[in-house]
């Protein structure tokens, strides 16, 4: 066994030069993709529950299609296609952002669909009896409760999403993992860099999932 590691090369200069830039991108990508994914995912879920075939079919194909393809392939697809559509090259970071919103929308839509279905039908009928339109019913009665019921699952998905941002490695975008890799290369210490990356990811994800677990106990309406 060989445990002669040397972490002494880690300094504030290294962290601020290489890691923070990547961490910032990883966190921003997670936040933008979560908000965008929940927005479009809710639209997709409403389409699938609308009872109108011309809305159900395209939404189902989109969601099931996205969910059966590896994220890395989706990242590669968008990196290839988006510049073709726009007619101009866009950076790896912008391409990754578009990809993650589109990809996560499929996963968030399944969560929102379960959330909407968790609301008893009687409440929708009550809304209709009061003369509410479909939109009012959704906005005022169903969605607020669906969000609340699904919040722990939505947040858990966000933690998974944060881990998945490391996959932008495939198109060379500069995220936190890339930051550690570049720092390790520049200082000739790749092994210590990967260990540090693993520890940082673990600490972030573990603390977040611990918070979600605590919150779950506090806010659940059902159970």
């Amino acid at each position: 066994m060989n445990l002669a590691f040397d972490f002494s090369f880690y300094s504030w200069d290294l962290v601020s030069n290489f890691i923070l830039k990547g961490l910032y991108f990883s966190v921003m990508l997670t936040l933008v993709a979560t908000l965008g994914g929940i927005f479009f995912g809710t639209l997709l879920a409403m389409m699938r529950l609308s009872g109108r075939k011309w809305l159900i079919v395209p939404a189902t194909i989109y969601v099931d299609g996205m969910r059966s393809i590896p994220l890395v392939m989706v990242i590669l697809w968008f990196f290839l296609l988006v510049p073709l559509f726009l007619g101009a090259p866009i950076g790896a970071e912008a391409s990754a952002t578009v990809t993650f919103i589109a990809f996560e929308a499929a996963y968030f839509s399944e969560i929102m669909r379960a959330g909407i279905q968790s609301i008893p039908r009687g409440q929708v009928f009550a809304g209709q009896a009061l003369g509410m339109t479909y939109g009012q019913n959704m906005r005022l009665i169903v969605l607020p409760q669906a969000f609340r019921n699904m919040l722990p699952v939505l947040l858990t998905q966000t933690i998974i999403l944060f881990q998945d941002t490391s996959l932008v490695y495939a198109i060379g975008a500069y995220d936190m993992l890339k930051g550690f890799e570049v720092a390790g290369k520049n200082y000739g210490r790749p092994i210590e860099a990967f260990i540090a990356a693993a520890v940082v990811y673990f600490v972030i994800c573990y603390s977040l999932s611990w918070l979600v677990k605590r919150m779950h106990k506090k806010i659940a309406i059902i159970h």
Partner: protein, 251 residues
């Protein structure tokens, strides 16, 4: 833009179109390459699945053992470690860090390291499902096992595990499909599976759309095949009157 599917019949070295689309005398076409890449994807996934099931069942079971605090703690730590580090980072750990700590691992191929990484990563998720499957059973089943004089091992072997497995088949199905999707991360350490093929062939030929379509198609075919196989198993082992809860989320 025009389609060019003929590039699949081109030799990978001199880029001449081969008759019959398959290479001869040791030369390979892009079609040969893609099919062998599919083989690597399937091999990585299936071997990782075997490892993940074995480790996941053991870890998930010991997390439910009565009166064994340290076994439960070990199981919990296992799940937290493998679940809270991104798969790509875990693959880098196996590829760069483990051989540096254990010099004996230096001669191990990238393929084996990816199987280990993907297998242990997935074992944490399977362990979580096995645990919740066992805990979803009515407590009376454990007591019934004790009442007829079973040891703990016999209670698990004959009462708890057979019931728990049937409950967790639907989440296991999605986990199996996830393994196939996650095997794509092996591109990062140059295992020539489908995603690696897609990236390299795209670069060499410039026919990205055709190649990505073909590779995406193979992933969808694989996912569909697993879904059918697991549904078949689920029907075969079903006990009348027992139904399983479904789950959402995850990748």
């Amino acid at each position: 833009m025009a389609w060019d599917w003929q590039m699949f019949c081109e030799d990978t070295l001199d880029r001449t179109v081969r008759e019959g689309c398959f290479g001869t005398d040791g030369d390979i076409t892009y079609l040969d390459w893609m099919l062998s890449a599919w083989g690597w994807t399937v091999s990585v996934s299936l071997l990782a699945l075997v490892l993940a099931l074995a480790a996941g069942v053991v870890i998930g079971t010991i997390r439910t053992l009565p009166d064994s605090k340290w076994a439960v703690r070990f199981g919990n730590a296992w799940v937290e470690v493998f679940r809270n580090i991104p798969l790509l980072v875990q693959i880098f750990l196996w590829y760069h860090v483990v051989p540096a700590i254990f010099p004996a691992m230096k001669s191990v191929s990238g393929f084996v390291l990816v199987v280990l990484a993907l297998g242990f990563f997935t074992s944490a998720r399977i362990a979580e499902q096995v645990r919740s499957g066992i805990q979803a059973l009515p407590r009376g089943q454990r007591y019934a096992g004790m009442a007829v004089g079973f040891t703990t091992w016999q209670t698990y072997r004959h009462v708890l595990l057979p019931n728990a497995f049937r409950i967790i088949i639907p989440p296991l199905t999605s986990e199996t499909m996830n393994i196939f999707k996650n095997s794509s991360v092996a591109f990062a350490v140059s295992v020539t599976e489908l995603t690696m093929f897609a990236m390299q062939a795209q670069e060499e030929t410039g026919r990205g759309i055709e190649i990505y379509l073909a590779v995406t198609g193979l992933y969808i075919v694989s996912a569909f095949a697993i879904n059918r196989i697991m549904t078949f198993i689920e029907k075969r082992v079903r006990v009348p009157g027992l139904t399983a809860p479904s789950a959402a989320g995850g990748h």
